[in-house]
């Protein structure tokens, strides 16, 4: 894979990379760190990508691993600073959804984002996250329920 097709592939899924990294890290600065590292690793290991059709899935998997590594390092360094840093503000009407989303445990949040937003199948997510498909399905279902409950609670509190 040459630099031009790699760059093109990344540009096509850059919004997805942002959302996946944000789902893990909770702030744009850490998300950028994780994506940068993931891109460098992916570029250096591009010979392991057998079929360019699966570029986005392959890159997402590397990004997920990178996010886990970054979280592990960050936890050791600044235990309290995560993930309370500032985030890029969503439009006001959607802020409660974002805040509720960030309050979910990452093990629920990430499969939900990958499935609902990025359109990955249960099987793909299971493969990316090294989980049995049944577990992924359960987590997505729980994530939906928890998220809707959280948003509803916020709305009730604000009313």
């Amino acid at each position: 894979m040459d630099k031009q097709s790699f760059t093109q592939g990344v540009e096509q899924c850059s919004r997805m990379l942002y959302r996946v990294a944000m789902s893990y890290t909770g702030n744009p600065s850490d998300a950028a760190d994780a994506v940068q590292e993931a891109l460098l690793r992916a570029w250096n290991r591009r010979d392991t990508l057998r079929n360019e059709q699966y570029f986005a899935t392959w890159l997402t998997r590397i990004l997920i691993n990178e996010c886990k590594t970054l979280i592990r390092k960050r936890r050791r360094m600044i235990p309290a600073a995560y993930p309370a840093e500032s985030v890029s503000p969503p439009p006001d009407a959607y802020r409660p959804v974002f805040e509720a989303l960030m309050r979910l445990d990452a093990k629920y949040r990430v499969p939900l984002i990958l499935h609902v937003l990025e359109g990955y199948s249960i099987q793909d997510i299971a493969s990316m996250m090294h989980l049995p498909p049944g577990t992924v399905k359960t987590r997505i279902s729980r994530a939906r329920t928890k998220l809707e409950k959280e948003v509803l609670c916020d709305e009730t509190r604000n009313a």
Binding site: K3, Y18, A31, V97
Partner: protein, 278 residues
């Protein structure tokens, strides 16, 4: 929860994020891998005369010239002016100092200062102080696929990409468990990282800077720092004439399975040297 609602909840992609992605893509290096170079070198060694081998070795030891013509050739292809400027501004670094009895012996091979681009390239070479005891590799090559997760990972993964409980290293032998890919697993593994440069107390590495680190043909660790100067460093460089002192902290970490010590332990060896400002 609808897809559109979730999408809007993330807001716009921040500029800081998009800029980092663009910058990273811009700096990707379309290098030839060391594996190919090793194979080629082996072929040369087998087939050619001692004289030709001597020439090949001389080409390698030219450092920066070799680097920009063999490993990282993107400037040649895409930014020929920058490539030419680097080649024309190469300078030997003679005034340098580093601790004599340190874990690693570090030498600055060459530097190239390109004032019109506010760009400084530095090439370092590092070898273990005690080669009988230590084997040196770039820290970058540890868990090069980012799949190490520690506790909860697979204890005996059979391929890369699987969440691992154990560290893997990338070497000339391939990517795998450390003991299997080291040249001599009886030696203590040392990990080397140099990714910062300082002008006195001023950090030099600005946006667009990059680092490349790899194992040379003689087992030395070659690190190339491509420094796009910070605003403050640029100001200092522009107002300077004659010689200017640059310092690079090099992090040397003996491998350990204790992640705390692995990521935050080790020692910092500073190398200081002077570059000539025309």
């Amino acid at each position: 929860m609808k897809r559109e609602t979730l999408d809007r909840a993330f807001g716009d992609t921040p500029e800081i994020f998009s800029a980092r992605v663009s910058q990273t893509l811009l700096n990707l290096k379309e290098e030839k891998t060391m594996k190919h170079i090793t194979l080629r070198a082996a072929l040369i060694a087998t087939l050619l005369t001692a004289l030709l081998c001597g020439i090949a070795y001389a080409a390698f030891t030219q450092g920066m010239d070799w680097y920009y013509h063999n490993r990282f050739t993107a400037y040649q292809q895409y930014e020929p002016e920058k490539h030419q400027a680097i080649m024309e501004n190469r300078q030997a670094v003679t005034m340098q100092s580093s601790p004599a009895d340190a874990l690693v012996c570090i030498t600055v091979q060459e530097a190239a200062w390109v004032p019109e681009k506010q760009f400084l390239s530095i090439i370092l070479s590092a070898v273990p102080g005690d080669e009988a005891r230590y084997e040196l590799h770039p820290m970058w090559n540890l868990d090069a696929d980012g799949s190490y997760i520690g506790e909860g990972g697979d204890e005996h993964p059979d391929s890369d990409g699987i969440d691992r409980a154990v560290h893997w290293l990338w070497t000339e032998k391939g990517f795998g468990p450390i003991a299997q890919v080291m040249d001599d697993p009886q030696k203590q593994l040392l990990l080397f990282e140099a990714s910062e440069a300082w002008l006195g107390e001023t950090p030099m590495m600005g946006d667009g800077s990059s680092v490349d680190s790899f194992t040379g043909e003689n087992g030395e660790i070659i690190t190339v720092l491509e420094i796009q100067l910070t605003e403050e460093a640029s100001r200092q460089m522009q107002s300077a004439t004659g010689r200017l002192a640059v310092s690079i902290p090099c992090f040397v970490t003996p491998y350990t399975e204790d992640d705390e010590a692995l990521y935050h332990g080790g020692e910092t060896q500073w190398i200081s040297f002077e570059i000539t400002i025309p």
